[in-house]
Each structure stands twice: as structure tokens, then as C-alpha cells.
């Protein structure tokens, strides 16, 4: 089981309680598709992903970014049981979506950068460590059911 310090728990709750899901979700997914263009392989039916402007303006990308971010809510609410909480989603990502688990890390990096730009100097090294640890745990849980 993952050990969380009081600081880490408080930090995660704080970040997500104040998060603008619409904006952060949209920007994180769009950034991922721009910075790591091979991730576009999973979104063949999203229409125009031809360049950065198209990706940023694509309404399907925006909508899906919010879906993904809300997917993190389960982990925020069940920090002591993330592995079990994501068992079903892990099967989905493996069996149905066929997502290479390395992509969880790529999206996590983009999400870190978007949250950093929103929080500014409030995103201290300790806050960054807590946030990245949280995303790494979620990524591991999503990878767990792959075989």
C-alpha cells in the first residue's frame, strides 16, 4: 500500500479542490497531443489534429481532456486504495483502448506542467513532488491489469 504523508494528502486535496477542470483538462490533453504527437494514434476519430492550433481548438480534445481529469477524481477520493479503485479502468485501457502505459507518464508530465503554470510559485518543489508521486501511483494502478 502507498504511504502518504499528511502534507501529500493535503496537497492533493487542495490542488484538485481548486482546479478548473475544463481548462486544465483541455490544456493538458491538447499539450500532450502537441508535444508527443505519436499519442494522436488513439484519437483517429477526433477530426482535425493537423497542427497545434487545430489541436488546441478541437472541441473533442477539450471534452475528452475533462473526462480524463475527472477520472483522476476517483484516486483523489480513495488515496488509500488507488490500485483497487482503478482495476476496471486498467482493464479498459489495456483490453479495449490498447493504450501503451508509457502514455500515462507522458500525460502526467503535461498535466504537471499545466498545473505548474496555473499555480506559479505556489507550485513549490514539495508540492511538485507530491503531485508527481500521486500521478505515478495512478499510472501504476492503470498499468496493473495489463498482461
Amino acid at each position: 500500500m502507498v504511504e502518504w504523508t499528511d502534507f501529500e494528502r493535503a496537497t492533493i486535496q487542495d490542488i484538485f479542490s481548486k482546479m478548473d477542470y475544463e481548462s486544465v483538462g483541455h490544456n493538458a490533453l491538447a499539450r500532450c497531443l502537441v508535444v508527443y504527437p505519436w499519442t494522436q494514434r488513439y484519437f483517429g476519430n477526433f477530426g482535425n489534429l493537423y497542427n497545434a492550433a487545430a489541436i488546441m481548438g478541437n472541441p473533442k480534445v477539450a471534452a475528452h481532456g475533462v473526462v480524463v481529469l475527472h477520472g483522476l477524481d476517483r484516486a483523489v477520493k480513495n488515496m488509500d486504495n488507488i490500485k483497487a479503485t482503478y482495476a476496471e479502468l486498467s482493464v479498459l485501457h489495456s483490453e479495449k483502448l490498447h493504450v501503451d502505459p508509457d502514455n500515462f507518464r507522458l500525460l502526467a508530465d503535461c498535466l504537471t506542467i499545466v498545473v505548474a503554470s496555473r499555480l506559479g510559485t505556489g507550485f513549490t518543489a514539495d508540492v511538485q513532488a507530491a503531485f508527481q508521486k500521486f500521478l505515478a501511483v495512478v499510472g501504476a494502478a492503470l498499468t496493473k491489469q495489463y498482461h
Binding site: V35, I55, I113, A116, S117, A125, Q128, A129, Q132
Partner: protein
């Protein structure tokens, strides 16, 4: 994943904006790396103080960023331009090249914090490619 003309323009343009803050950027990125990726502290056991804002961290952040500045000036041939630095890292420092990626990530986080409106997705991808290219050039002499 080599640098296109568009990438180089984006990098040089962005570098002009951030260069005045280079020392602060380097210090912050290094400090974050030591906190968020504690295994990187193993390279600095000779420092008295590894905390963010400490003198050795600030000084070394400045050193690292002057290396990045040099890379920007030699962007058209990083492999040859950074040969001396590669030899330093390969033969003397012997930093595991996996750490270049870690420091690069922390540099990007600091850039996002300090230049939120300039660090657009297009600048982000160009800088990520650039730092990867620098890391590759630094790894050149390892084996």
C-alpha cells in the same frame, strides 16, 4: 526527432526572452530535481547544503544554464559543439544519462511557472526536443 527550422526559431526566440532569468531558472530547476528525484542527490555528496536556495545549488544552476546557453549558440551542430562538455560528463562526472531527462523535465516545469503565457504548446515541444538533443550530444562520448 531532429530540430526543424521552425523549432530552432522558436527556441532562439524563447531563449532571448528567458536568458535574463537564466540563473534563477537553473537554480530553481536544480533545486526541484534534488527534492522531487532524491536519487539525483547522490551526485552531490560533496556539497554541504542541498536545500533549495543554498549557495552550491544556486552556483551550480548557473553553471548548468551557461551550458544550455552554449548549446543554443551551437544549435546547428550540437554533437560537435558540445564535445568538450560531453567528455566532461562521460569521463569525469560520469552522470548516468537517464538523469539528463530528469533535469530537462524540471527545466520545463520552471519555464511553465515563470513564463506561463510564453511557454505555449509549440514552444514546449520545441524546448523538449532541444533539451533531448542536448542530452544526446552530452551522451556522445559515453561509450
Amino acid at each position: 526527432m531532429s530540430l526543424s527550422a521552425k523549432d530552432k526559431n522558436a527556441i532562439k526566440g524563447f531563449w532571448d526572452k528567458i536568458a535574463p532569468e537564466a540563473e534563477n531558472i537553473g537554480a530553481d530547476a536544480l533545486a526541484r530535481m534534488l527534492v522531487v528525484y532524491p536519487q539525483t542527490k547522490t551526485y552531490f555528496s560533496h556539497w554541504q547544503d542541498l536545500s533549495p536556495g543554498s549557495a552550491p545549488v544556486r552556483k551550480h544552476g548557473k553553471t548548468v544554464m551557461s551550458g544550455v546557453a552554449e548549446a543554443v549558440s551551437k544549435i546547428d551542430d550540437l554533437t560537435n559543439g558540445l564535445l568538450t562538455l560531453s567528455e566532461l560528463h562521460a569521463f569525469q562526472l560520469r552522470v548516468d544519462p537517464a538523469n539528463f531527462k530528469i533535469l530537462s523535465h524540471n527545466l520545463l516545469v520552471v519555464l511553465a511557472i515563470q513564463f506561463p503565457s510564453d511557454f505555449t504548446p509549440e514552444v514546449h515541444v520545441a524546448m523538449d526536443k532541444f533539451l533531448s538533443a542536448v542530452a544526446l550530444a552530452l551522451s556522445e562520448k559515453y561509450r
